[in-house]
């Protein structure tokens, strides 16, 4: 079933990221995603970056579909199906949200009074949603050192007492997540990670996004750290659009 709703506003977040706000009554939870269809172009998976009555899609421009989507104006329709996927597990205590690149989009619904953030990007102007955290609860890293720590997301995490949080939520590209998993693998922490892979159907049948026999779209995209640690394919190999096995560089 394809939902069709009109956009209320289109907000520019960074030079390459926009957020589309809309009303949609269906229940959705942080970590879930929708398959967004731009008729005549293609269909792409996108995390919901707000999950209350007002919902939001945060679009990183990287191809034809996302470029077209980022230009949708208030009053125009967007088309999508979902919500799909397993949400993040919610906790009552202190949380740490770790987002690289546009990964902060799916973590945004988890931002509250008890949340601290680690936001990393290539440069200052690409840091997403860092201003939504209280000033004393945000750690920033940029590759070029234009803001915060000069370094990657793990360099930023070294500055933080990870054991102090009841849950650490992570979202970003697989290579970045791999570096985080390697960093924390022997530590006694609760962590859930939202993974990204090529996705086509979104409903657990096409096998494009699978990793170690788990379908990212239905078993994930959120996984517990303990599950990710069992995955032989994680950070190592994945299937290309054709199904050909390729290795991460």
């Amino acid at each position: 079933m394809i939902n069709s709703v009109r956009i209320l506003r289109n907000e520019i977040n960074t030079p390459t990221v926009n957020s589309l706000y809309f009303k949609w009554d269906s229940h959705a939870e942080p970590g879930q995603f929708v398959m967004v269809w731009v008729p005549g172009i293609s269909e792409i998976p996108m995390s919901l970056s707000l999950t209350g009555k007002e919902k939001c899609l945060t679009v990183k421009k990287y191809g034809d579909t996302s470029n077209a989507l980022s230009k949708v104006e208030p009053g125009e329709r967007i088309f999508f199906r979902g919500p799909y996927g397993k949400p993040f597990t919610r906790v009552k205590g202190k949380t740490l949200l770790v987002g690289g690149g546009s990964g902060m989009a799916s973590l945004r619904p988890l931002i509250d009074q008890k949340a601290s953030g680690v936001v990393a990007a290539r440069s200052s102007d690409e840091l997403l949603f860092k201003d939504l955290f209280a000033k004393d609860r945000i750690t920033v890293a940029t590759d070029d050192g234009s803001e915060g720590i000069k370094g990657n997301i793990v360099d930023a995490m070294r500055e933080i007492d990870l054991e102090a949080f009841e849950m650490i939520y992570v979202c970003g590209p697989e290579r970045m997540i791999k570096s985080i998993v390697d960093f924390v693998s022997n530590r006694n922490i609760n962590m859930e990670l939202s993974l990204e892979r090529n996705m086509k159907c979104g409903i657990g049948i096409c096998d494009s996004c699978s990793i170690d026999g788990f379908q990212l779209c239905t078993d994930g995209p959120t996984f517990k750290l303990s599950t990710v640690l069992t995955m032989k394919e994680f950070g190592r190999t994945k299937l290309a659009e054709s199904g050909k096995r390729i290795w991460f560089q």
Binding site: I205, S208, T218
Partner: protein
Amino acid sequence: MSNSDYSTSVGSINLSNPLILASGILDENGYTMKRILTEGAAAAVTKSIGTDERNGYKPPIVAVDDPIFINAVGLPNPGINNVGEEIKIARESGKPIIGSIFGKDENEFINLAGKMEDYGVSAVELNLSCPHVKGFGSEIGGDPILVKKIVNGVKGSIKIPVWAKLSPNVTNLLDIANAASDSDALVLINTVRGMKIDIYSGKPVLSNRVGGLSGSSIKPVGIRCVYEVKSNLDIPVIGVGGIESGLDAVEYIMAGATAVQIGTAIWKYGRAVFTKVLTELNDFMDSEGYGKIEELRGIALK
């Protein structure tokens, strides 16, 4: 589960139960097939593999509105030379892997079948029926002369069993079934050509516009096809199309199916559909007093 014996065999291939993962669903990645086989399926058919690497169609590749399920995935596959690793991983399950192949003509099918045999599959399934890719599938599967050439050509070139998957999108199924009757089993049915238009955008949903309808909507078509073929030909038939419950499986088996394949139902029930169907099959056999799958087979034909 109790006394029932679900084991069955399709020719020389022994199956611990009659449930096989259908081609096209969760069978691109070797680790996925291995997991499904560990979680209840007795065998798995790979995604259809051709000579060259293909990306398939751009999304949307599915149009779903329960119970309607239409797909046009477009035969994505890594090419026959790149699929050996996936089959090797899937074979670690210890259960039979069936290599599905598609091609334009007899020679291409023969070449693909030979390579599948080298990879150690237990049988090949000839995809003579993909309904949404030009030049392959249905255009071949609707031509009895070509079907006979391909089936007999492949049959003469490899030692492992050859299954032929046929399309319901033909005028006379029996003509095609007869043409394919030298195969070791017929697999009935592939999807039924269909289409979905989104009325708010006024556009076809699938990027390929036309796709194949599967799931519970097509079960009566599948039952009819199995029944029709089994009424006229003495050849093992594997039933596929809309099996979501143990009772659906029983219906196919009573129509004469030796085993059944499950695909689209994974959309509704996840990989757990195999244990669900098996439990329901067991309950039916218990309550109706059947001890073996064999006792159910083809009883509607008598």
